[in-house]
């Protein structure tokens, strides 16, 4: 009984962290068909922003939920203005340029923070279920992921900005013809996507020791989750995060964490071979 509860929580946690890791990338890709390979470094910067803010005496939750997204959102905005807007419509070129940016950010972080591991302690204590110890922070991550998905859905479905965003996702040329400046939409989108990356990085920061190259651990997973998700933003994100989280946890419990990671990657290869355009090109068509 206890063990199945623990497994359930671990499973949900794995899915939730994939959702968190991928949300920022998914927003940018879904709206702008831009793959931001500096996404991992945006998360890394979110982590550093949090730690720096905490060291300056800011409450840890404010640092994670407000300071980090804002800081990284602004960095994203600068990046969009300086680099990415010159490359719209050139998928591969934006990937290359953002890959270059990721190296720049790693270099900058190394020069500022040094090549050493920094971290903060988890702000929520663990507790015991029967014989097992559960990390209370995992619940926090699950809750944040659920809130995030609900919030994204509500914004896209219920607000005027969301309506414009959905229109742009469908037909960016039509949205432009209707008088919505794609330039401003893209700016706003990239800001939101970056802020989400910063949020994810901040929330995951207490779990991992942060180094300037931490982003590399996230980007591949996020990239895979988003591409495997396919054209629908939220349905794609949730369905592929669920599939991958499930597969990796099954193998983690059955064999080992390394095999769990490898299983996730193998699952991605098989999935893309079977559904080259992603899960939501076949299922949940037309959903958000």
């Amino acid at each position: 009984m206890d063990i199945s509860f623990v497994i359930l929580v671990e499973m949900l946690y794995a899915i939730a962290s994939l959702v968190l890791i991928s949300a920022g990338l998914a927003v940018v890709f879904g709206m702008m068909k831009v793959i931001n390979l500096a996404h991992g470094e945006f998360m890394m910067m979110g982590g550093y922003a949090t730690i720096t803010a905490v060291q300056l005496g800011v409450n840890v939750f404010i640092a994670m939920l407000i300071v980090a997204p804002l800081v990284v959102g602004v960095i994203g905005l600068i990046v969009e203005r300086l680099v990415i807007r010159h490359l719209y419509g050139r998928l591969v070129d934006t990937m290359l340029a953002t890959w270059g940016l990721s190296l720049v950010f790693i270099g900058l972080a190394t020069m500022i923070f040094g090549n050493t591991t920094t971290g903060i302690s988890t702000p929520i204590p663990g507790f015991a279920v029967g014989d097992y110890q559960i990390n209370g922070y995992n619940f926090f991550i699950i809750v944040v992921a659920i809130l995030l998905v609900v919030l994204m859905y509500a914004v896209l479905k219920g607000t005027r900005a969301g309506l414009i965003a959905r229109g742009t996702m469908q037909r960016s040329d039509m949205a432009a013809a209707l008088g919505y400046s794609p330039d401003r939409i893209y700016m706003a989108t990239f800001f939101c996507g970056s802020a989400l990356s910063g949020l994810a990085g901040a929330i995951l920061a207490p779990l991992v020791g942060l180094v300037p190259t931490s982003g590399g651990a996230y980007i591949a997973k996020a990239f895979i989750t988003v591409i495997a998700g396919g054209p629908s933003l939220i349905a794609g994100l949730v369905s592929s995060a669920t599939s991958f989280g499930f597969v990796s946890q099954v193998f983690t419990f059955a064999i080992s964490p390394v095999i769990g990671e490898v299983a996730l990657l193998v699952a991605a290869v098989i999935l893309l071979r079977l559904m080259p355009q992603g899960i939501t090109s076949r299922f949940f068509k037309g959903k958000l």
Binding site: L91, V92, D93, W99, G100, L101, I224, L272, R273, P276
Partner: protein, 341 residues
């Protein structure tokens, strides 16, 4: 046509003979050797990306695979000839399987990128986790993160005692690169190469003409991987140790940067880009003022934004302007399509 081919070969041989002779006066042969190996690695991606339109985010996987195949078989065989051949063939075979899976599944651009990236990660994670004593292939312990040291390095074929190292190894690598370069030249001039370029330009049309696009892309992909495998084996023999970092994403990123900076759609560009940037990185490594990852990143961003054709085509265009020929705008467009097509 044939006369221009002969001229091409002669120019290649003369220029490279001069370079082989002159370069050791400027840079130590030990460093030059690895620059040459990187040049070969750059050429391998330049072939499949620049001429086949296949963007591979995992060229490092083939490089690492070649290195590991060489190391493992060298430990077992105790001689270097067979391991060298195996490194090329097994890597090409692996790529053929992977390529067939991708191309017959009609995967393109970004999806291709994801798969090749993922395969690189799988290899990286798997080899990293092989630290235990149970991971043994023949006499070779995989060694996990620590890699495999102490294998037989290159020797005169048939005589395991006669190691080829130092200056001699430099000449061997240089000749190997020239041979590979001439082979690539021949391949691109052949019908196969011209058909590959046709496929890069328009897959649908080539299929409607009657070409089996998936099969041809698979073969080209395998050929590029074979070259990367050879580069990996030569690297293993140079470094005398192989570690999982050969498979890292950073390594893959660097190969892509070399191609962009040097110039896609040319044979020379990726080689020049690879050797040039690797040497730049070597020089930057000797100072600690500025982080060299930062420089590499800036170089990539700047080239994508301002000189997307790369150095070699740009210099070629300048040269033609200054000599007074009409500038051919073709390479520019070929490039753009190769990357975004």
């Amino acid at each position: 046509m044939d006369r221009s081919a002969v001229r091409d070969v002669i120019v290649t041989l003369v220029v490279s003979a001069i370079l082989i002779g002159v370069m050791p006066m400027l840079i130590s042969t030990y460093t030059l050797t690895v620059l040459i190996i990187y040049g070969m690695l750059g050429l391998s991606l330049g072939l499949i990306w620049g001429f086949g339109g296949i963007l591979c985010f995992g060229q490092a996987a083939f490089f690492g695979l070649g290195a590991y195949v060489y190391a493992i078989s060298a430990v077992n065989v105790g001689e270097s000839t067979l391991p060298m051949i195996l490194a090329v063939l097994l890597t090409a075979g692996f790529a053929a399987l992977l390529g067939a899976m991708m191309f017959y599944g009609r995967l393109t651009d970004v999806y291709l990128g994801v798969i090749t990236l993922v395969v690189t990660l799988i290899l990286f994670k798997f080899i990293n986790s092989t630290a235990g004593p149970q991971y043994v292939i023949g006499k070779a312990r995989m060694g996990g993160f620590n890699g495999i040291p102490g294998f037989q390095t290159l020797n005169v074929p048939g005589d395991p005692g006669a190691y080829i190292w130092g200056d001699a190894y430099y000449y061997v690598c240089a000749v190997a690169l020239i041979i590979v370069y001439l082979l690539v030249t021949w391949l691109l001039r052949s019908s196969f190469g011209r058909i590959a370029i046709g496929i890069r330009e328009n897959e649908t049309r080539m299929a409607l003409i009657g070409y089996d696009v998936a099969a041809r892309k698979t073969v080209l992909f395998a050929a590029g991987a074979g070259i990367a495998g050879l580069a990996g084996a030569l690297y293993a023999s140079w470094a005398e140790i192989v570690t999982p970092t050969l498979f890292s994403l950073g390594q893959s990123a660097e190969i892509i940067i070399w191609c962009i900076v040097g110039g896609l759609g040319t044979r020379l560009g990726p080689i020049v880009g690879a050797a040039g940037l690797a040497y730049l990185k070597f020089l930057l490594g000797q100072q600690s003022m500025i982080d060299n990852t930062l420089i590499m990143g800036l170089v990539l961003v700047i080239f994508v934004l301002f000189l997307p054709r790369g150095l070699v085509p740009a210099i070629g265009a300048l040269w033609q302007v200054s000599v007074g020929h009409k500038v051919r705008r073709r390479p520019a467009r070929r490039m753009r399509r190769a990357r975004n097509g």
